[in-house]
């Protein structure tokens, strides 16, 4: 494993337990072959295989991620995923057609969809968590639909009342809610996130868009006009003058996006703990934004063929900057409410137990 850019100071290690770094054993070459075969089979089967493809992809990444020598396991049933995808595709087509033909239908759709959203989110997170395991114990997402609905309603109401100014607060509350309702076996996580820090992040992100995007847009356009003025033969490039400011803005946005991702992820893990375990994430905004921009260029230039490479290197970077601080005395126990990992028929039953790919 590569040497991490940032290390956790020794005294904290001594006081808090053993540092366990994530280890990622996957490679772009391996994943490329899995990805292209998944894509090929999906096309041949008119999309039906996409559910099996998703399970294979997830199992590859789970199996390639190790803490303390042990990897994760994912055992969702492809049939449950297929069911979810068929329903989602049908809803998508119905919505797209319905709103085009009868614009009023859009309102009706959202009138149904918005109240259903908490239910969908709880279902999807529950499906994913309960089908994920580490050391033979399932994870869980333990929020009820009613609890999620109450929280969402309250948060959205405040967002509207403050005309969106509550957004950073909203993000902090949302992340804290999601993380604190997750459990490993019977061990519940706790998560507390300071909204004030999120305000700082979003404020700075806004400044980043201006500070990076505007000068870049100006510089690119200026360079182009200079080139055209120099040489008549470059006249054909003139239409680019419309495109370059957009490109500059996009780069500014990508940098700000990476900044928000890096900082909120670091904060989110710093504020999360469980019985006998704390987390540390040390992502760097600069490195992450370079990754995103390189990924975008590579994927665009190869018409998508480098998608697996982009996915693997981004995940590798994220995992190499993630660590758990573990108290070895704590042994986690299974959640008795969930079927044990090895039980026959991993499918957890009813029709609505499906993956919605949220």
């Amino acid at each position: 494993m590569n040497a991490p850019e940032t290390t956790i100071s020794d005294e904290r290690v001594a006081s808090a337990g053993r540092v366990v770094r994530a280890e990622f054993t996957g490679s772009a070459g391996e994943y490329f072959r899995i990805w292209i075969v998944n894509l090929f089979f999906t096309l041949v089967t008119l999309g039906v295989y996409s559910a099996w493809a998703k399970v294979r992809k997830k199992r590859y990444f789970y199996g390639s991620t190790r803490f303390d020598g042990d990897s994760f396991d994912y055992f969702a049933s492809p049939k449950a995923i297929l069911k979810g995808r068929l329903v989602a595709a049908a809803i998508f087509v119905a919505y797209a057609l319905g709103t085009e033909l009868y614009p009023v239908a859009g309102l009706a759709f959202w009138a149904v969809a918005i109240p259903a959203l908490p239910w969908l989110v709880v279902r999807a997170l529950g499906f994913n968590a309960q089908n994920s395991a580490y050391r033979g114990l399932r994870f869980d997402f333990a929020a009820t639909t009613w609890e999620a609905a109450r929280r969402f309603a309250g948060m959205v109401a405040l967002m509207i009342a403050t005309l969106g100014l509550a957004w950073p607060w909203f993000v902090a509350r949302y992340k804290a809610f999601m993380l604190s309702r997750h459990a490993f076996g019977a061990s519940r996580f706790e998560c507390q996130l300071p909204a004030r820090a999120f305000y700082g992040i979003y404020l700075k992100a806004g400044l980043v868009v201006l500070a990076v995007g505007a000068p870049l847009a100006f510089a690119l356009t200026f360079a182009l006009s200079l080139a055209i003025a120099r040489s008549e033969s470059l006249q054909a490039l003139a239409p680019l003058a419309l495109l370059l400011p957009v490109a500059g803005g996009y780069i500014g946005y990508a940098v700000a996006y990476a900044y928000v991702q890096a900082r909120t992820t670091n904060l989110q893990w710093a504020g999360t703990r469980g019985p006998g375990v704390r987390f540390e994430s040390t992502l760097r905004a600069r490195r992450l934004s370079t990754l995103y921009i390189q990924n975008f260029l590579a994927v665009a230039a190869t018409a998508g063929l480098l998608i697996p490479w982009a996915v693997v290197r981004t995940l590798r970077y994220r995992l190499e900057h993630f660590a758990m601080i573990v108290d070895d005395a704590v042994v986690h126990e299974a959640n008795p409410a969930l079927a044990p990992v090895g039980a026959a028929g991993q499918e957890l039953g009813d029709f609505f137990n499906m993956d919605l790919g949220l």
């Binding site: 054993t25 391996e30 490329f32 072959r33 899995i34 292209i36 075969v37 894509l39 090929f40 999906t42 096309l43 041949v44 999309g47 996409s50 294979r56 199992r59 590859y60 789970y62 199996g63 390639s64 042990d70 990897s71 396991d73 055992f75 595709a89 998508f92 087509v93 797209a96 057609l97 085009e100 033909l101 009868y102 050391r135 033979g136 114990l137 490993f184 076996g185 996009y250 990508a254 996006y257 995103y292 990924n295 975008f296 994927v299 665009a300 998508g304 063929l305 998608i307 982009a310 996915v311 981004t314 042994v331 986690h332 299974a334 044990p340 990992v341 090895g342 039980a343 026959a344 790919g357």
Partner: protein, 337 residues
């Protein structure tokens, strides 16, 4: 008899137990420091191999064993057909290269042929009445955009309508349609088919035409859009390409959604051009059935291009909603086959 090093988890706690897994006489034995278990081998399920990620043996009763020794697991188990196919495709570079070629080919086929064909089949099965609400809205919309009541005399309107109706009837065409004459407003000389079979023609276009047969040619072209359900097809093609692109790019949603939007837009334009060509063919056939020279379509297109703003010049065909005018005129001028 075979022995494999593994780690056992009992499914009740997160404690790990290093063990040896033995297979002998149809029994799986799991032996370790404080573990001594035996199961009927037929009741032990195993995970499929994925590259060199760890393999799991799921035991009756909720325990599980995991091992890095993929080859050992492969040796002692019988692979299903699905597993053998996957392993062949995923482990050999030649197959991976073949998969790339086939995937690119299939994707091209899907968007070039599949999506328009499926959209067309579905569109023909949806009654024209489904577009009624949309058609009413579109008419109100163009009214707001300054396309007012036609200044043509009612007699002139009726004459054109009658001639076109006779042409349609003579060709045995039964597609329901309704003509709407309007002032051009910001659209100038123009004609278009709205949802639910409303064909709008502007006074400016009637004035521009050098011959009534040119007007009939345009009406025939617009009826082609109605006949082939292009409004509905455009909607369906949009949803279908959305589904195809979601399936393909589902992997890298956040960073490059812009990269996925560009091909979607180019595809919409490509389908639009295909629809224009189809409407041209319909118009040419309708005119031939009435012994009207199809070249009138080409002459009107030439007039439109000559008087129109220079906005379309210099835009490459792949960025345009309509095919190249010269190509369209050539289609109309082609001798009957």
């Amino acid at each position: 008899m075979s022995a494999t090093q593994a780690v056992y988890f009992d499914g009740r706690t997160s404690r790990r137990h290093p063990v040896t897994v033995l297979l002998a006489g149809g029994k799986v034995k799991i032996v370790g420091c404080d573990v001594d278990l035996e199961y009927d081998a037929r009741r032990v399920r195993r995970s499929l191999r994925i590259a060199n990620t760890p393999r799991w043996l799921y035991l009756p009763g909720g325990g599980a064993c995991v091992t890095d020794d993929n080859d050992a697991v492969d040796r002692i188990t019988v692979k299903s057909g699905y597993e053998r196919v996957l392993q062949a495709w995923e482990s050999r570079p030649l197959y991976a290269a073949l998969a790339v070629l086939l995937t690119v080919g299939l994707m091209f086929l899907a968007v070039d042929r599949g999506v328009p064909a499926v959209a067309s089949v579905i569109a023909e099965r949806i009654p024209l009445q489904a577009e009624a609400a949309l058609g009413r809205q579109a008419l109100e919309g163009i009214g707001r955009f300054g396309m007012g009541r036609s200044q043509l005399s009612p007699g002139r309107q009726a004459a054109l309508e009658k001639r076109f109706a006779a042409m349609v009837a003579h060709a045995g065409e039964t597609t329901p349609y309704r003509l709407e004459f309007r002032t051009g407003g910001p659209f100038g000389a123009n004609a278009f088919a709205l949802p639910s079979g409303v064909i709008v023609m502007t006074d400016d276009l009637v004035a521009l035409a050098g011959d009534d047969r040119e007007i009939l040619a345009v009406l025939a072209h617009e009826l082609g859009h109605v006949r082939h359900r292009h409004v509905m097809r455009r909607l369906l093609e949009g949803s279908l390409t959305g589904l195809v692109l979601a399936a393909v790019t589902g992997d890298i949603a956040s960073a490059s959604s812009l990269a996925a939007a560009a091909p979607a837009t180019l595809l919409q334009l490509k389908y639009s051009r295909a629809n224009e060509t189809e409407a041209d063919r319909f118009a040419i056939a309708l005119m031939r059935a009435n012994d009207v020279d199809p070249r009138y379509l080409g002459t009107l297109l030439a007039r439109l291009e000559a008087q129109g703003p220079r906005k379309n010049r210099g835009i490459p065909t792949f960025l345009s909603t309509h095919p190249d005018t010269d190509e369209r005129a050539a289609l109309a001028n082609r001798p009957d086959h």
